[in-house]
Amino acid sequence: MSPAPNRLLRAAVAAPVFDFWSRQFGSIQAWDRCLARVVARREEARGAVTLTLQPNRRFAGFTPGQHLNLTAEVEGVRLTRSYSFTQPPRTDGRLRLTIKRVENGRLSNALCELRPGAVVELGEAYGEMSLPQGPGRYLFLAAGSGITPLMALSLALEQNPQAEATLVYWAQRRDELCFAEELRELAARQPRLRLHFALTREPLRLAGEFGRRIDTALLDEVAPDLPALQVFACGPRGFVEDARRLTQERALRFHGEAFTPPEAVAGGAPVRVQLLRSGQTLEVPAGAPLLAALEAQGLRPASGCRMGLCNTCACRLVEGVGQNLNNGETVAEPGSELRICISAARSDLTLDL
C-alpha cells in the first residue's frame, strides 16, 4: 500500500478494531501482531503432535535450530511457551512445530488438541543454536523433546554440503520417537548424517539401537573423533548437564539448550531485576515489595494507591517468577501484569518497565 493511504488508514483504524474485523472475516492478518493458522496436524509419536502453521505477513523468519514464543488461549487465558521449529524455512512460508504432551503442561496439552483452522500467536524467533554455512562437523545429542531443534538442524544439512553430523536421539520407548521414519529416510539418502536411536526403557532393542543413557563408552562408539566435533545437546536439564560433563572438555565446542522451568528462591535472597524500558538491571531482595525496593535505589516508577488497587504501577512480567504479596500467589506466566506495589520478585525477573 502506498504511504499516504496507509497513513490515513493507520490514523482511522485502531489496532483492536482492525484485528476484530479481520478475525470476523476469517483472516489472520493483524495490525501489528503475528498470528498463524494451523493448516495441518499429525500425530508424530506417542504423546507428540506436529503442527504446520501458516503465519501472517508479520512473521520475520528464522534459522534452523531457533525457537519462538507461541501464545494461545487456554480457558480464556493466554499462555506463552517456547517451541522449536522442526524444519528449516520452507518455500511456502509455512512453519512446522512439534509439541510434546507434558504432565500438567497446560499449553502443550492444549496445542496437541488443536485442529486445522485454529489460530495462535507467534513471537519472534530466537536462539543461538545454528548451523553456519561452510565446513563443520557436528555431534547432535537429543533427548525427548530436545529432538525438535536438532531435527531442523539435521534437515538443514541438506542445504549445507560442507557440514556433516552424527545424531544420537534418546527416548524412553520406540513409539515415543518423533520423526523416526523421516530421519531414517534422511540418513539413507544423505550420507553426511549418521543416525543412532537410544531407547532407555524398551525391552526389545533392534539392530543399531542403543539401550542406555549417555556415557563415555557410547560417545566413543558414535564419535571417536570427538575433539574435532562441535557438540549440540538439547533435552531435559539433567541430560544436558550429563552431555556437558562428558563432552565439554574434549570436544571442539559445546552448546547445550535445556528446558528449565523458572524456580522460586527463598525470601531475602538477592535477585536481579532487569527493567527493559529503562535499560537498567538492579539487585533487590526476593520477597520484598518491588515498588519500594526500586524506589530505595532511586527509581521512580509510576505508582498510585500503593495498595494493589488502582493498577497505576502494573507492568508486564517478561520472564521470571513474581509473587502477589496480598494473596501469596506465585506469578510465573510470561505476559502477566504485576502490580509492583504489592508484588515481589521470587527469582531473577525481567519487567517491561
Binding site: 482511522a12 476484530f20 480457558e75 480464556g76 498510585g304 507492568c315
Partner: protein
Amino acid sequence: MSQATLNRPLSHAEMDAFGTELDALRARTMAQVGAEDARYIRRIVAAVRYTEAAGRALLFFGAFPPAWVLGTLLLGLSKILENMELGHNVMHGQYDWMRDPHLNGKTYEWDIVGTSDNWRHTHNYKHHTYTNVRGMDDDIGYGLLRLFPEQRWRPFYLFQPLIAVIFALLFQWGVAIQRLELGKVFSGRKTKAQLREEFRPVGRKMGWQLLKDYVLFPLLAGPFFLPVLLGNLVANGMRNLWTYAVIFCGHFTADAETFPKSVVLNESRGHWYLRQLRGSSNLSGGKLLHIMTGNLSHQIEHHLYPDMPARRYAQVAPEVRAICERYGQNYNTGSMWSQFGQVVWRILRHALPSRPGKTAALVAPAAEAA
C-alpha cells in the same frame, strides 16, 4: 431517616473483621474468574463492534428518518457499552489476567474525547483511592457543582441547576479536561506553559475524536454528510447524558457521604472498605440495566473490588449486603428514578446555602479514645 441512624460506627476490631470478611469474599470470587468471564468480555467487544458498524452503516442512509433514528440509537448504544462495560472496566485491569494486549488495563484507549491515561490517573487512582474525600477526590462536583453542604457555598452555585444540565450534555469534555485542573491555572497555581504541555495529548485525542465523528464518517457518506454528522452528535450526547446520570447516582445520592482528608491517615483495609461503602450507592434493576451501566449499578461492589470483572458484582452483591447488615451498615440502593431524583435534589438544594447534617462517624468514639 437521618444519616446518623443509618450506620453504626465500628470499633477498630469490628472494622478489621469487616475487612477480613470482604477480603475473603473477594478471594473466593476471584478464584472462580476464568473462561466464562473471558467469553463474556469477548461478547461485549463483539456487541460494541457490531452495534457501531450497524449504527454507522444505517446513518449513511440517514436521509431516511427511520434509518437515522435507528442508526443513531445503535451508535449511542455502542458508545455507552464501549465506554462503560468495556473501556471503564478493562482500564481497571479487570481483565489483565487474560493477558490479551487488546484488553490490557494500562494500554486500552477508549472512544471518548478524554485520554485513557488521564482517566487512569483521575479515576483509577484519585477517585478510587480517595473516594469522596473532600479535596482529594475531584469527582465531588467536578470542581463545578456544590453537591454536599460541606463544600463552601459561593454565589456562583446559584447557577448550578443550569450548569449541571450543560455539564451533563458535555460530560465527555468534562472528563477530558478534569486532569488539567483549570482552576489551578486561574488561581495561579499552575503556569500556562505547564498547561500547554499537559494539553498536548488531550488536544490530540480531542482532535482525533472530532475528526472521526464529525469529518471522516460524514465525508464517507458523501451527500448525506449532514445526517451522519448530526447522528454522531446525538449519539455522543446520548452517551454523555447516560454516563453522567449513572456516575452521579453512584456517589451523590441522599445518603452518600463525603469525608475530610484526615480519614486517609494510616487507614486500615477495613476502614478503607467502610469508607468506600459509605460513599457509594447502587442502582437496583435487571440484567439489562447492569450491562448498560457497565455494572456501575453495583457501584458499592465496584468500589470494594475495582479490579474484579464487573460481571461478578451481581454475584457478590447479596453477600456484600449481608455483611453490611451484620455490621450495622446501610447498603445504599434504589431504583434509578429514586436515586437520580436524590441527585437532582442535591443539585437544586445545595445551589443555595446549606449546613451539614449529622452523619454517623466511621470509627466508634470509644474505640478511638482507647
